[in-house]
């Protein structure tokens, strides 16, 4: 482990003041990713600012029928919160598909958004990585890239975002509340994470002196027709090769509203407006779902070892949309995919 200083923030304003005063400091809440990266010598903060005691641990109803989730609500509490289970079961399911119960007990809502990629080369300090060391090169493009992205990649980086929770939050069109020296602002979920472009060291549009304080869910929760389907190398406790959050609003057999977000395939939870538009107004059928999947994957590009992900994603999209339409969401404990 590296040497660092430790401080505890008294309140959100104090946390912002402390991070603004020390650009090499980092916030720590659950610590599940950051402390691991510090042990690996990938993250090297000079100071950790402990925000784990700040009063950001409640789930509150908003005036427009949604929910405001405090940034420090642990992942496990959120997944099992009665309002989330009842009104946003897609989110509950996605959270329970990720990590282990021990890690979910520690990990915070805000921290889940800010976790780093699990690309092998990001972790391996002996190899070049543009995300870890800008300008050093990407070892994954010509390396072992089985887990890498197939959508939205750049010549600088083909890493994926590892979160399951964020895939559901993208589908639900959550909004991220952040605080900084100039006050608070709200970021649409789709604008929170970035594509790599030529700046893959920047995962998100959160500024270095800002802190995530809450995640807000809009009223529409798609509680009836949803599924979170995660495909991985073992049945539990593994990152997604491909995951799909599917949410539909049906009128009879006709799709009135559709959301589709993918994990494990890009630098951010992947949504495609054209694919979702192709679902709206159409019958909830295999043909409709296949067409939407083809549209979403029209620009997909495989690398040496991950071309299989394109067909895997296509089939996963069709299966997840079918599960959603039939109101038979994927179980996260019975692993049979039906």
């Amino acid at each position: 482990m590296i040497n660092f200083q430790y401080a505890r923030a008294d309140d959100v304003a104090d946390a912002v003041r402390r991070i603004a005063a020390d650009p090499t400091a980092k916030f720590v809440a659950g610590g599940t990713n950051l402390i691991d990266l510090m042990k690996e010598d990938v993250e090297r903060p000079s100071r950790l600012i402990d925000i784990s005691r700040l009063p950001l641990k409640s789930v509150e109803e908003t005036s427009d029928g949604g929910l405001r989730i405090g940034a420090l609500v642990p992942n496990s509490d959120l997944a099992w919160h009665p309002l989330i289970e009842r009104r946003y079961p897609l989110l509950s399911s996605a959270i329970l598909a990720g990590a282990s119960q021990q890690l979910r007990n520690m990990a915070s809502t805000g921290g889940n958004l800010l976790q780093r990629t699990r690309c092998f080369y990001f972790y391996d300090t002996a190899t070049p990585c543009n995300k870890r060391k800008p300008g050093s090169g990407c070892s994954a493009i010509d390396g072992i890239n089985r887990i890498s992205a197939i959508l939205g990649t750049s010549e600088a980086c083909i890493a994926t975002h590892p979160s399951d929770m964020c895939v559901a939050l993208a589908a639900l069109e959550a909004r991220v509340h952040v605080a900084g020296p100039k006050g608070e602002r709200v970021i649409a979920f789709n604008d929170f994470h970035r594509l790599p472009g030529n700046t893959p060291h920047l995962d998100t549009n959160l500024q270095p002196n800002e802190i995530v304080i809450a995640v807000e869910l809009p009223a529409q929760g798609f509680a009836k027709n949803y599924s979170y389907l995660k495909i991985r190398d073992r049945l539990s406790y593994a990152f997604a090769l491909v995951s799909v959050a599917a949410a539909l609003e049906l009128e009879g057999d006709t799709i009135r509203q559709a959301r589709l977000a993918l994990g494990g395939v890009a630098h951010k939870p992947w949504r495609d407006a054209a694919a979702e538009a192709a679902l709206r107004g159409q019958p909830a059928s295999q043909a409709t779902f296949t067409h939407a999947a083809d549209l979403l994957l029209r620009d997909a590009k495989g690398f040496t070892h991950n071309t299989f992900k394109i067909e895997l994603a296509r089939r996963s999209i069709v299966r997840a949309l079918t599960q959603a339409a039939q109101a038979t969401p994927q179980s996260q404990s019975d692993k049979k995919i039906r």
Binding site: F4, T24, G31, M106, Q332
Partner: protein
């Protein structure tokens, strides 16, 4: 004289921090420790308190051997900084037995031969205690899923699930 480490970020050496006083209750005993910021709860338990029942497996949150209960919830102690747990109540494998009697989970693991080498067992048992307290797992599938953060390289999984089912029945779903 202020000590500095050789570690440099932004060109400036970082002073070696003073040790920080942390009050934690471990297995019912109040303890004050003087720890460096980077001392994990796992290292504090093993190296400062000599409670070596909690095991260091991977030290990266991937194996679950370091699982302990903090304020009743199971966590990976290897990814937890001791300084962040000031005021917490920690239960380790050494704290589960009462008045000389094994905890129901410990007895169930023996009854079902739920281990071979035993290295993962303290983490498995603490994790199972957390699982039973959560009250979410009912079926064998659900136990397997919610125990997936504890790896057993000897492959005693079927017996571990059977042991947890036995203890869960006797404990009526409460810890």
């Amino acid at each position: 004289m202020v000590q500095t480490s050789t570690a440099k970020r932004s060109g400036n050496p970082i002073p070696v921090p003073h040790k920080i006083s942390v009050a934690i209750t471990v297995n019912g005993v109040e303890t004050t420790l003087e720890v460096a910021p980077w001392t994990t709860l796992l290292d504090a338990l093993r190296d400062h308190l000599n409670l070596t029942g909690t095991k260091k497996g991977c030290d990266h949150g991937q194996c679950g051997a370091c699982t302990v209960l903090v304020d009743g919830r199971r966590i990976n102690s290897c990814l937890t900084l001791a300084v962040m747990k000031d005021g917490a109540k920690v239960t380790t494998i050494e704290g589960l037995a009462t008045e000389g009697a094994l905890h129901l989970l410990q007895q169930a693991f023996i009854d079902h031969d739920a281990f071979q080498c035993g290295y993962c067992t303290p983490g498995q048992i603490c994790s199972a205690a957390g699982l039973i307290a959560e009250g979410k797992a009912k079926s064998a599938d659900e136990i397997r899923e919610l125990m997936s953060g504890n790896i057993c390289r000897c492959g005693a999984y079927p017996n571990i699930v059977a042991a947890i089912q036995q203890a869960m029945g006797k404990m009526g779903g409460t810890p």
